[in-house]
Every structure is written in C-alpha cells, then in structure tokens.
C-alpha cells in the first residue's frame, strides 16, 4: 500500500530531527553561561551532534546540511568563514568513510573513536583560523576546548539518543 500524503509528510518532518537538534545545540552553545572561564573553552557541541548522527543515522544528514550548519555557525560566532564547515565536514567525512567500523559498536567504542575524530575536527578548525588570520591562535585554549568536547560527548549523546528513540524509532 502506498503511504498517504500525510504519512509521508510525517516521515519527512521526522527526518529533519538531526538538523533541527544540531541547530538548537549551536544556539545553546552561544548562551552566556556565567561560569568562570567556561566560555573560552566551551565545547564544540555541533561537532558532537554531527558525529552522533553520522554514526547512528547517516542517511538523515548529508554533507550539504553539515556545510550549511558550519557556515551559519561561522556567521554567528564571528569565526573566519569556512572554518566551521571544514571542521564539521572532516568529522562527517571520517565517520562516513569508516561506516563499516562504526556499525553496531558499543557506546564505549564510539566514545573512544570520537576522541580521535574530535581531535581531527579541532585541529582542522584551528588550522583554518590560523590560515585566514595569518597568526596562530592559542593552542592551549583549543586543547582545552577539545577536552571539553570529548567530556561533553556522553551527555549530548544521551540526549540525542532519547530524541532518536522518541521520534525516529519507526521512520
């Protein structure tokens, strides 16, 4: 039986979940937290999100969406244009090319792999910023940001998993 129009619309709108959640996380990462010394090492939440969806539902977010998210982030964060897309594309590119490795792996393994992928993403962004501004920004801050990103992965992944179970179980 062919699905009705509304059934298809339902499916299509549910499939936007990864994109919507990534955009929300991007906005959340810009909220001033009032925690001492937190903002200059705040985690790269969009990298976590892109990684999560590339691992668990690679069919729902393509390179194009990831590129646009990175671009939007650069626009809003006043980072050099192109630095955001590069780091997100690197994240997704690595996961997509190693899709066989990621299939059916436990949480611990995915987290461990994220350790490596996030390092690549952080270095890519760092180099892009250095390239555009022709001066090397502080490596210590980037290292701390990387540490924070890895540390935040379980929390964000847990939230993403709740949403995935609630909205994408059947579609």
């Amino acid at each position: 039986m062919q699905p009705s129009f509304w059934q298809r619309m339902n499916g299509v709108s549910r499939h936007q979940l990864p994109l919507v959640l990534t955009l929300i996380l991007m906005l959340v990462s810009m909220v001033p937290t009032r925690l001492p010394d937190f903002m200059s090492i705040s985690p790269m939440l969009t990298v976590i999100s892109v990684y999560y969806w590339a691992v668990y539902r690679p069919d729902l977010m393509g390179y194009g969406s990831v590129f646009l998210i990175g671009l939007l982030e650069d626009m809003l964060a006043a980072t050099p244009l192109g630095a955001g897309p590069i780091s997100l594309l690197v994240t997704q590119g690595i996961v997509m090319s190693q899709a066989k490795f990621f299939r059916g792996k436990s949480f611990a393994v995915t987290w461990w792999a994220f350790l490596l992928v996030a390092a690549a993403a952080a270095v890519a962004k760092w180099m892009a910023v250095a390239l555009v501004q022709i001066s090397v920004p502080s490596g210590a801050a980037v290292l701390a940001t990387y540490g924070m990103t890895v540390a935040f992965y379980p929390v964000v992944a847990w939230i993403m998993a709740r949403f995935q179970l609630a909205i994408l179980r059947e579609v």
Partner: protein
C-alpha cells in the same frame, strides 16, 4: 524476465561516488569561503550583521534562564557571607569617603588650572546600555552579541565598557543588535599606556584570557601590578579608560589581565566618545578630522 529496477549494488556504488564528489566540492567551497571572507569584507559583514539581527531575539530568550539561575546562585552565595561583606563594605566606605574629599580638592584644582590654560575639552560622551545575549566563538574567537544596534545609535568602532573597565569595541552594528569584539580576541589591537611612566604599547589579544603587550620599548621597565589604560592614540578610544593589570613579565612576553570578567558580563555600556575610531569605514568624500581626544 524484464528487469525493472537497477542493480542495487550498482546504485549503492553510484550513491557513494556522488557523496564523495559532494564532500570534495564542499571542502573546496569552504576554502573558497575563506578567500571570500578575506577579500570582500563588506559583503561578509553585511550578511553577518543580518544573521546576528535575526538570531538575537532567540538568543535573548535562551539567555534568560541562564541569567536567572546565576542570579539565584549569586543570591545564595551572598546570603552566606552577608555579615563579613557588610563590615568589609563599612571599612571600604570610610576609606572611600577620605578619597572623595581628596578627589573633590583635585577636581577643583584641576578646573581652575584648566581655566588658566584655556584647555579645550574633548567631545562629550554618550552611551546606551545593552544586554549581553550571546557569547560566541569559544576558543576560536571572542565576541559578544548585545541587544542594541543602529536604532539605539550604536556605531561600528564605539567602545564597550563594563563597570570594571574596557571590554572591547563594536565591530558590527546591526539594526537591533551589535557585535562586540572582546579585547582578548586574536583580532583585537588596542593602543594602551602602561604604568606610571605611561609607556606606550599595543595590547594584542590571542584568544587566551590574558592578552599580550606588543611594541613595548625594551628600556621601559614593566612590572607585574602595573595598571594598563587606553592611551588614546589613533583616536580609537579616549585616553585613560582602565583596561587591566600586568600579571606576568617573562622575557619580553608581557601579559595583561583585563579588569572585566567574561563570565560576569551581563550588561555593557556602549559609549560614543565622539571620536573617529579606527574602525570607521573609509569615506572618500570626507577627510578625517584630527582626533581631539588626545589632548592631555
């Protein structure tokens, strides 16, 4: 039997090729964007300003709970230390009253001396107060979005000041929002003078919490604890705005701790000192007037 669907293997292969092609194209596009961002800054800035304007209401909404939570936490913290705080403030008040007398005397003396010298006062400063709704960039850029834009007469190049001292300057002014580049950002360069000797230098951010002093003459002795204020050179800021304190002097690497705390910034004053800041767009029709704020 006639085959109606293509071979799934081949389809998968094709899909993979397309995806790989898209990846390469988008990576190249990212590098192209870096070039565009360098080449056509006007266009990029206009798009950025538009996006910031669009997102500011959402960011404003999102930042409410954060500030409420922090206000409650602050309240609790203050309640526990209210007695000590009170006695400390009483002492401080007594000390400040003595300073007030001294300041009054100096003010009167200063006024009469200015009268003797025919001193030309700098232009009057006016300001708007704006709420900080987003703190962006993380380790890669240090900037804030605030809720005041060109409709509140905020312009590019104006100084952003908190209660403690200089925070940064406006680098983009949209209609209802503007972006403040913190003095810790890698793109920030501020002419300052250091210590009682008023040695001139440039305070350069590098995305850490402690910006560096550049172009300090080597014979000038700078010590930790020296006060850093704006020098007024280049007409970017009026002279004498408090900026920070020298924290470490290490083999030519002089670090300054700004007075403002990034996590405490909730409201900022955007001040128009009537100076032609260094960030004003170049207008070929008008010549730059001499900066008036440098008279001391």
């Amino acid at each position: 039997m006639k085959q109606t669907t293509p071979n799934p293997n081949r389809l998968n292969h094709l899909r993979m090729l397309v995806s790989r092609f898209a990846f390469i194209v988008l990576v190249v596009a990212s590098f192209a964007l870096m070039l565009i961002g360098k080449a056509d800054t006007m266009l990029v800035e206009r798009v950025r300003t538009f996006m910031s304007d669009a997102v500011t209401p959402v960011a404003s909404l999102l930042s409410q709970p954060a500030s409420t939570v922090s206000a409650v936490m602050d309240n609790l913290r203050e309640l526990t230390a209210i007695r000590e705080e009170n006695s400390r403030l009483r002492d401080e008040n007594a000390r400040l009253l003595r300073w007030q007398t001294a300041a009054r005397l100096l003010e009167a003396e200063n006024d009469s001396l200015k009268g003797l010298l025919n001193f030309v006062p700098g232009p009057r400063a006016s300001f708007v107060t704006a709420r900080v709704v987003a703190d962006t960039g993380g380790a890669f850029a240090h900037s804030l979005l605030v809720t005041a834009g060109s409709r509140e007469l905020v312009e590019k190049g104006q100084a952003a000041v908190s209660g403690e001292g200089l925070v940064g300057r406006v680098i983009e002014a949209g209609h209802r929002s503007s972006r403040v580049l913190l003095l810790t950002d890698i793109n920030s360069r501020i002419p300052v003078s250091v210590g009682n000797a008023r040695a001139r230098a440039i305070l350069a951010g590098d995305n850490t919490e402690r910006p560096r002093l550049l172009y300090l003459r080597s014979q000038v002795r700078v010590q930790p604890g020296d006060r850093v204020t704006t020098s007024g050179d280049a007409g970017a800021f009026p002279p004498g705005l408090p900026v920070g304190i020298v924290t470490s002097v290490d083999d030519g690497d002089v670090r300054v701790e700004p007075y403002f705390q990034r996590d405490k910034l909730e409201y900022l004053r955007i001040v128009d000192y009537g100076l032609m800041g260094v960030l004003t767009d170049i207008d070929p029709g008008a010549s730059r007037p001499a900066t008036s704020g440098e008279l001391r």
